[in-house]
Symmetry: D2
Subunit: 302 residues, 4 copies
């Protein structure tokens, strides 16, 4: 379907030709690329102990299987909040202990891979770093699964070639993430290119996650695009959620509140069922009460 010989060597290890069967990325009791639709959720940035714990418990209760949260933040401006760094990683680890949810967080540099891998269950490569080849090579030697986000103006061939770097350097546990591309349209932050989900599925055996938060940049659009992502065949979602989006230190306008996230999970369930996929069950009441206690702490502190 896509020419793979334009300019240099094609991707090999990540291609369907090399491995016809779909890959399932496993760790703990989680299998990404299986018949379970996996939702990763959490705040853009880890801000406070209360914020991350409250969010973790709420997203778990709603059916999320993995907690996201940024500790090292790539920010356009040097004057913006750059993340809590290792302190953020420690808070994520605490949230994992409290909820059992494994953690995905971004690693910005080859120098940080070792440190981040100590805490995280999945190492995320952001769109701006998709062609940070030193980082990709280092991740090839990491003992963790890697989620690679598509660069904001990267072709599918370049995207798969970036994944090929990780595979070529030794790590085959790779998850692809479509998060929107840059176009002339300004009504949305990016243009979420959902057709790439089936295109990637044809070309590669790797599982594909969709990010409707960065993919649209607007809270109201996350729900409809999440449903569309399920319908188009994605293996999961990564969604930004915050106990109080208006007060988020970053990306508040595209973050869902805890209630909105719970509603999203309910709404996507029947779509996942149509695709023959299950979603983790909602957890019972008690857990949903706790976050409110944390919520008070958080609002007092923020």
């Amino acid at each position: 379907m896509i020419s793979k010989t334009n300019g240099s060597e094609p991707f090999k290890l990540v291609s369907r030709e090399f491995k016809p069967d779909k890959s399932i990325v496993k760790f703990g009791d989680i299998e990404i690329g299986s018949n379970e639709f996996i939702v990763m959720a959490g705040p853009c940035s880890v801000e406070t102990r209360e914020q991350i714990l409250e969010t973790a418990q709420a997203v778990k209760a709603a059916g999320a299987r993995i907690l996201r949260g940024g500790a090292f933040k790539p920010r356009t401006s040097p004057y913006d909040f750059q993340g809590l760094e290792e302190e953020g990683l420690k808070l994520l680890a605490e949230a994992r202990r409290a909820t059992g949810l494994p953690i995905i967080t971004e690693v910005l540099s080859s120098e940080d891979v070792e440190l981040v891998a100590e805490y995280a269950d999945i190492l995320q490569v952001g769109a701006r770093n998709m062609q940070n080849f030193k980082l990709l090579k280092r991740l090839g030697r990491a003992q963790r699964p890697v989620m690679l986000k598509r660069g904001m103006s990267s072709t599918i061939r370049e995207f798969l070639m970036a994944a090929e770097y990780i595979a070529f350097h030794g790590n085959s546990r790779i998850i692809l993430c479509e998060r929107g591309i840059r176009t002339f349209e300004t009504a949305t932050r990016n243009t979420l290119d959902l057709a790439m989900v089936p295109v990637l599925d044809e070309l590669s055996h790797l599982p594909v996650i969709v990010d409707p938060s960065h993919g649209t940049g607007k809270r109201k659009l996350v729900m409809p695009m999440a449903k569309a992502a399920v319908a188009v065949g994605a293996d999961g979602l990564i969604v930004e959620v915050h106990p109080c989006p208006e007060k988020a230190w970053s990306d508040g306008q595209q973050s869902l509140s805890l209630d909105e996230f719970a509603s999203l999970m309910e709404q996507i369930r029947p779509y996942a069922a149509l695709e023959g996929k299950r979603i983790a069950a909602t957890e019972p009441g008690p857990l949903r009460l706790e976050p409110m206690a944390f919520g008070q702490g958080a609002s007092a502190q923020v």
Copy 2:
């Protein structure tokens, strides 16, 4: 959500501010924008009597409510097939008599509006003509609903301003159509911008149709993107269907066969149901047999 004051007057008549309730475009027994999910289907170009009749009966049997087919074709090259013109319109009219399906077909020029309106139930404005203002003005005086396709590099504001031309000149029966935008990505013919469905729904009261055929340019992608379009809240689809896509005179690589289209209709039904929308029922056997007879004629002739 979108600034409407950038550069010149904003759209008014087509906005939610002007008319908060969603518009339903009605004609015959069809209501676009209602709780019925409307599928328009048919060949890119009308080629032969057999081709259009066979297609019309098959798409009707599968649940399509409107027959599409091009008589005046906008082609990049002057050496490509330019359409059967009025002869094509007559064949469309015959297909309408045979099936009862109303017809949508493209009008390329202000000069042709009167002629095309004699035959067609909906007048389509193609992406290349979205800012053909003479045509838009003339359509404002037409007695037919108009389906306006988004230009391939048009912003949402420009798209709604083009619709405003039609409304301002007197015709409020307007249907919007998202059909993909031009980006750097070449794995698909266009990048289908599904987030525009909820964006348009917020800004405008007009119904929105999605074209997954032009929006992807590849047969295999039509089905997943059709499902995604339902899930994201579209009011309907327009799909290219041909009895023998390999032999189509135009756009064969993005056309579904009759069987593929029937399968698509079956697959989108439960998604429409989740959105609270119904789709016209499949018709019984006899009608499905006839096309096969036509099919023989068509293959003999082509």
Copy 3:
């Protein structure tokens, strides 16, 4: 250099393969594509008799060889000024009588070709109409040279195929115009794609004009990009000029004042000389005084 076989028939009549020698489009004493660098200048819209006469005399005095001015205006909003239409054509004709400058003006629709051709020396096709095939076909039968602007998201192949329509239908006097493409960058109105000047020169024998006014959308950028256009090998420029840009009825922010235009002409002269091209001489004083008288009238009236 560019594949010409992607998708359908390649361009033929407009190609270097068909005609290796560069074409010179001649009319009156003007030769576009020769060793004279041709500057077309004038207002975006014809507004008043004084405005167009004052501008015509000023741009002629500065060395422009052709007067531009819009009578039929393609405007994004139906609420914006749509042009003086035939009255504007008559004013352009009067300015031609007064100055001897031939006229270029846009024709928006196939229906208007006959009317506009009565008045204009060159018929301009705007970017939004580059693939208005009915218009292109009609222009193929017109007895006037045609200047075809590149569509805002058109590839070079599509651009040359649009020119091929005109040539195929009988008119070989075609001038190409690069006027900027739409990209994600918003610091300029469009991204002026100057590399297309040598690319077009390699692929086609047709002369190429550059529009730094629409190509940037900002007055301050017109001068540097005009110099760059000369240096890259363009055959001429088309520049928006207005006696009082702040009061222009359209595109004021990208229009030069009469003095700024005179300065631009002086600045590009030595660059044209380096390219082995001459530019029409500046005219003597008397003519430069007259516009000031008109200027009073214009400012009184506007």
Copy 4:
């Protein structure tokens, strides 16, 4: 001209508001941003001792002031040549000793800054790393000037914010480089956005270099776009040159031969003169003979 308040803190240290006078980046006897037009030239990749020495002497003889050459190469495919790394840096240093030309070379990762800074006179940040914030921060503490290339889909605001990172972290010797953006157009590798030269000059005090090699991707287009870059007001060029482009290990199709580069230098001289800028003189014969001796070695070895 450009809104600087969209989304987060604006750039400050690199803005004209902060420092109205243009900055001159000085090192050795070179001043970038002064009235000398500075040309950087050399191969995409350092390949062999003969190749880099021959190229260095030839580009110096033609008037280049700085030698470029890649030792750490960012390549789309892991199967492509990745650069000679430190061995390449040593060869560059040898070429500097032989010719006196200072060296610019790319640094791919924060981890490599110290090593590369031992050898290089200017540290280059490639387009793919424009938002590698860890690298930018480390470069803020480097004792070398930095040339920052615009990301292939970066807005001007993002570009200046990336420069702001370097300045904020302590290094004010920054050179900006326009190298083309990614658009839908495929006739060129990138779309060289020359209007950004005057836009950057208005917004920032930093000098601006243009890269017509990556900006077009095609040898034939380097010359006309180099002239255009001079005319639009750039402070210099960076050009890929190779003794035998057909045999280059990377980017051969956009590299000039030694003779083509000498011709380019001759052709841009009068344009620079028109802009009030001087270019280093061509050196006498003997030096031009030496490269031919090296050339034999190179061709024998390659």
